[in-house]
Symmetry: C2
Subunit: 394 residues, 2 copies
Amino acid sequence: MDNFTFYSPTLFAFGDGQAQTTGSLVRRFGGSKVLLVYGGGSVKRNGAYDAVTASLKEAGIPFQELSGIQANPRSGKVYEGIETVRKEGLDFLVALGGGSVIDTAKAIGMGAEYDGDFWDFFSGKTKIERSLPVGVILTIAAAGSEGSDSCVITHENGNLKWGIPKSDAVRPKFSVLDPRYTCSLPPYQTACGAVDMMAHICERYFSNTPDVALTDRLCEALLKTVVDAAPKAIADTNDYAARADLMWAGMLAHNNSCGVGRAQDWASHQMEHELSAFYDCAHGAGLAVVMPAWMEYVYTHDVMRFARFAVEVFGCEMDYAEPKNTALLGIRRLREFFRALGMPTTLKEIEGAKSEDIPKMVEHRREKPNGFPFGSFVKIGPEEMAEILRGTDL
Amino acid sequence: MDNFTFYSPTLFAFGDGQAQTTGSLVRRFGGSKVLLVYGGGSVKRNGAYDAVTASLKEAGIPFQELSGIQANPRSGKVYEGIETVRKEGLDFLVALGGGSVIDTAKAIGMGAEYDGDFWDFFSGKTKIERSLPVGVILTIAAAGSEGSDSCVITHENGNLKWGIPKSDAVRPKFSVLDPRYTCSLPPYQTACGAVDMMAHICERYFSNTPDVALTDRLCEALLKTVVDAAPKAIADTNDYAARADLMWAGMLAHNNSCGVGRAQDWASHQMEHELSAFYDCAHGAGLAVVMPAWMEYVYTHDVMRFARFAVEVFGCEMDYAEPKNTALLGIRRLREFFRALGMPTTLKEIEGAKSEDIPKMVEHRREKPNGFPFGSFVKIGPEEMAEILRGTDL
């Protein structure tokens, strides 16, 4: 186990009806004038918007609104939010939605406290020292941004989907997690969320760090939970127990509970960011395509870890004579699982995607600061990236 | 899953050499004059005292010392510490040691900020509103107080070993966890720690709350880790990987990561507190005696949960025809495991203990506010408590 620091000072209020505590939580963490950030109509249809605004009003907290945040959130909305915060003298951000809304609020929070362009944090020009406080009311179990120290924004100028270096300054002060709000999600979005959280765990699980027995088991506990709960939530959208498991697993998958003290990989995420930058596909859908192909490309690097994954997560029988068979079976099972959830698992299933774009995606990746190599379990250079992406062209 | 709030805002600095960050961590969390609380010579022998005091000096932080804290920490030292804090105008507590030292520092912290007797918080006379900040340098993996919201002190007047109602105000600001400091622990203390953390998990695991698949798996991941690592740490006291697993598992076992959203039991702890109040035995040793007896008394309440415990934690084969057999096998395995670690598992192995005292322990328990019934998985009244304790007289 490597040395580490773990600091997760977010207050999580979990369960049915917790959104009514929003106003008092904003007060507790020092907010007095709020920018409420959200997407479109779904938070109005599922009751979340009404519950949150009622709670803010009851607590006597005035708020402005910034709506229309979309998947793969864009820099334009961040600039707009920063301007509103400054003009109106707002001191607290409430993100009502999923990862895109939360990341937009986080970026506004860091940008509002900085004299220059907020994109400087993403381009690596400067380091995040502080941020306006952010609170979250989560309505999609997926990105884990409600408990994480990370943030991803797409800059319209150059179609750059980049993340910040991890920073405790962007951890939300509080996150309200009410599984009821996720019951109205369409199956496709529920599935995308499940893939995203499994990817967050796998990026930590496939590690070269020795002596990580405890976090290995925590990763497996989370993966098994998602494998168990996601099909239930899709079969019966109002299955509260399954929705609750997914929601809490999604947070634990990315607040780094299961990743402390071990090298992490993140190669699949890096490659998926190119997919969604090119085709604006859902992050989870892109991951469902990329991750099994990455696994097939790298599994020989540590056959026994992939065999363990197969046995512990999918209940495969161990082939002690040929562990390779077990390793490959586990990858196959993962792809079948994604497919059963209704996810794409090949490049051509993503709208607009074609294998001719692969070299362009590799080139686009080069523009990123420290674009190559990426990955830690296995180092991925331009040729390896191209080869993995060709592996999605089934 | 029940609704819950989870708030664990402690910064954990984990690994070899982390004690040298003590001074900067005290500064980060607003401390300028420290009371350094510790036990006896072990922290001087293992280098922890030197590392911590050097770090405080380097950061220019003056400190007073309160030493001589013993197992089952007493109220006398708490009163002494409160007086020193007030007289010297100290504003931060650094606990260097294990659960007894940390709980003493926590009690000093809450008492120093309160006009009345600190015991009022334990007797239920008043509620904890605030506390001086506490930082921890942990030297024993056991109690989990380094991340917890609880605190147990024994009042010399009446030999009352009581805890406070859980309060986020007493969570440490930071905890330094360096597994190296635990390498010099004698096998007996290592074993006591392992039992204590397993008990913290079991008190959460044996629950009547339905739909707790995720936390069930997290509990099992932690239990398996302790079952795997504790014998290794005892066989080779310098096994860093095993020491590291135990240290992080001990924190996770009690910061409530694995207990959120489910009713918790705590009956074994309540009964053990009487054992250690009567015989001043190590908490872990008392738990090794009480917990299997409690299990044998209650297992018929939920045979399948005990069968699952046997299969998932000890790898027992499931007897599908007679799950009761599997349940009982798991309890037997637990007792054997404790015995193999060198722990007592019967009343008579505790120095001075005799079955004639059982009625007195039951009577002593009655003095406690809301003394009976206790437990949540199965309610325990005076007769049940006597019966369980008689079950330890093997």
